[in-house]
């Protein structure tokens, strides 16, 4: 094993945490949709990719890079949420009570369609969102340069986590969502239109996918294929943390982000295997995930 100075490892932990924040944002959306509607949405990664491409398009359209980034931050996730509402209304609400195989067929089919839609609109280009000046530079920490953008992600991730926690635990809307997780029939018998609850949750889940995509477009190049890459990572996160668990998504994301980042230092060629090794371990020891509950 190569001798690596402790500073490099610590910096790499920081970078890994910032990747973890993006995994968390995407995986929490996936987990939320599963938790409420019991649908495993394979197309979640495609919505993330759509968010990333939209962000670069909005950034290029605004052209002024300080402003473009924030306009993209505002618009791209909202457009993805809107696409989600349309998909929910036309397709997803028909499969809520169907077997998982049908859900898999539909959502997998959607990933193929959405990938082609992105290809038709943007072609095979590799794009990137320009960052505003204060985010584009780097800060010296322990004698090493850390991208300001990564530091910003370390702020954004916990903000989103807090926002979601607040929404779910401290608002009436959140209470209705949690009640619907337990028993949607009874929620509707209490006079609440659960169809709207489902549409709202789906929109929020898709907004999170779009936000994740928008945020990654400022850090890495945007290209076809990123949908598959993220959905595999997000699945690893939710399997480790427990599907449907919000805390699980956070812990799973941090575990994957940090272990991959450190692994890259020691064994760059094999680091990408780490999430799946951890996932396999969790599946053997605790099949419902660290924070999940055994399926009824």
């Amino acid at each position: 094993m190569p001798q690596i100075p402790i500073e490099s490892v610590l910096i790499q932990v920081l970078n890994g945490l910032s990747s973890g924040m993006i995994f968390f944002i995407v995986a929490s959306g996936l987990s939320l949709i599963f938790g409420v509607m019991r649908v495993i949405n394979f197309a979640h990664g495609s919505l993330y990719m759509l968010g990333a491409f939209l962000a670069t398009a909005v950034g290029a359209w605004v052209a002024e890079k300080n402003l473009g980034f924030f306009v993209a931050l505002l618009i791209a996730p909202l457009v993805v949420a809107f696409v989600g509402v349309v998909l929910e209304f036309t397709l997803f609400k028909r499969i809520y009570n169907k077997e998982h195989l049908l859900q898999l067929l539909l959502t997998y089919g959607l990933t193929l369609i959405l990938a082609d839609v992105v290809r038709i609109i943007w072609g095979g280009e590799i794009l990137r969102l320009s960052l505003p000046e204060f985010l584009a530079g780097a800060t010296r920490i322990m004698g090493r340069r850390v991208a300001n953008y990564n530091l910003a992600l370390l702020v954004v991730g916990p903000l989103i986590a807090f926002g979601l926690w607040f929404l779910l635990q401290r608002t009436r809307w959140g209470r209705i969502i949690r009640a619907s997780v337990a028993n949607p029939e009874i929620v509707s018998a209490l006079g609440i239109n659960t169809q709207w609850v489902f549409t709202g949750v789906f929109a929020l889940g898709c907004w999170l996918a779009g936000l994740g995509g928008m945020l990654i477009s400022g850090r890495a190049s945007v290209s076809l294929g990123m949908d598959v890459e993220i959905i595999v990572q997000a699945f690893a996160v939710v399997v480790i943390g427990g599907l449907g668990s919000f805390t699980g998504a956070l812990v799973g994301s941090v575990i994957i982000g940090v272990t991959v980042a450190i692994g890259t230092l020691y064994a760059p060629s094999t680091a990408q295997i780490i999430p799946f090794a951890i996932m396999a371990l969790v599946l053997i020891l605790r099949p419902w995930g660290l924070f999940g509950k055994p399926e009824r």
């Binding site: 949690r178 009874i186 509707s188 209490l190 006079g191 659960t194």
Partner: protein, 235 residues
């Protein structure tokens, strides 16, 4: 007539459960629907609230047909449904269970607030911040009733509130239902426990094999031991 159920036929998938059930509930009444397990009591209540919509027949609320409407729409017209025990939200606290169900009556009135519920159910007040899933069976039953009251309904469909509870707790639940009735609430009570049901109601229906077999005052039912033996006795 506040609620009229006329000749409804309800199915679960392919199995035919209700064969032309008819019943009526007038404002301010407490009417019980008694019968054995599997006789069709729960299905009748679920047909009214829309969770098991009837295939044929009419459910009329203040003279207007409501069958075929979504449960949330029917609930918004002033019908409250209290499901069988343990249908509380176990992952929500007692207070949260109540808050989710909060809505004004059809006339915009708010008779039932969390404070009034806590006056009537002091046990729930003590458990306010506890998760619903940690409550005892009796407390869960109280919470289910209290939760429905939070929607300020005009009619409450009460599904087997005494089921699976110890005699002392059944007594307590009975007193609570009596108090709610005294507030002027209209109640349709489904029960297997005849003693419990008759003490609270003025009129009774007996349901067996998905058909109404008797309709009359509770006095008439009590004076007819053969009926009780035929349709309600457990052998």
């Amino acid at each position: 007539m506040l609620l009229q159920v006329r000749d409804i036929h309800t199915y679960y998938g392919l199995s035919h459960i209700l064969f032309g059930v008819s019943l009526e509930v007038d404002k301010g009444e407490c009417v019980c629907l008694v019968g054995r397990n599997g006789a069709g009591k729960t299905t009748t209540l679920k047909s009214i609230i829309g969770l098991a919509p009837p295939k044929r027949g009419v459910v009329a609320w203040r003279g207007q047909p409501i069958n075929g409407r979504a449960p949330h729409w029917i609930a918004q017209q002033g019908i409250g449904f209290v499901p069988e025990e343990r249908a509380i939200f176990p992952n929500l606290t007692v207070w949260e269970n109540l808050d989710v169900a909060r809505k004004p009556s059809t006339t915009g009135e708010v008779r039932w607030t969390v404070e009034r519920i806590y006056d009537l159910f002091p046990r729930l007040k003590e458990r306010s911040n506890q998760l619903g899933g940690t409550l005892s069976g009796g407390e869960q039953q109280m919470l289910t009733i209290a939760r429905t009251l939070m929607g300020n309904p005009e009619l409450v469909l009460l599904d087997e509130p005494s089921e699976g509870l110890a005699p002392l707790i059944v007594e307590l639940i009975g007193e609570l239902v009596a108090q709610i009735k005294a507030e002027g609430m209209t109640i349709l009570l489904s029960e297997q426990n005849l003693r419990f049901a008759l003490r609270l109601s003025e009129r009774a229906y007996i349901i067996d094999d998905g058909k109404i077999q008797f309709s009359g005052t509770t006095q008439e039912l009590q004076n007819n031991p053969e009926l009780v033996e035929k349709y309600l006795a457990v052998h």
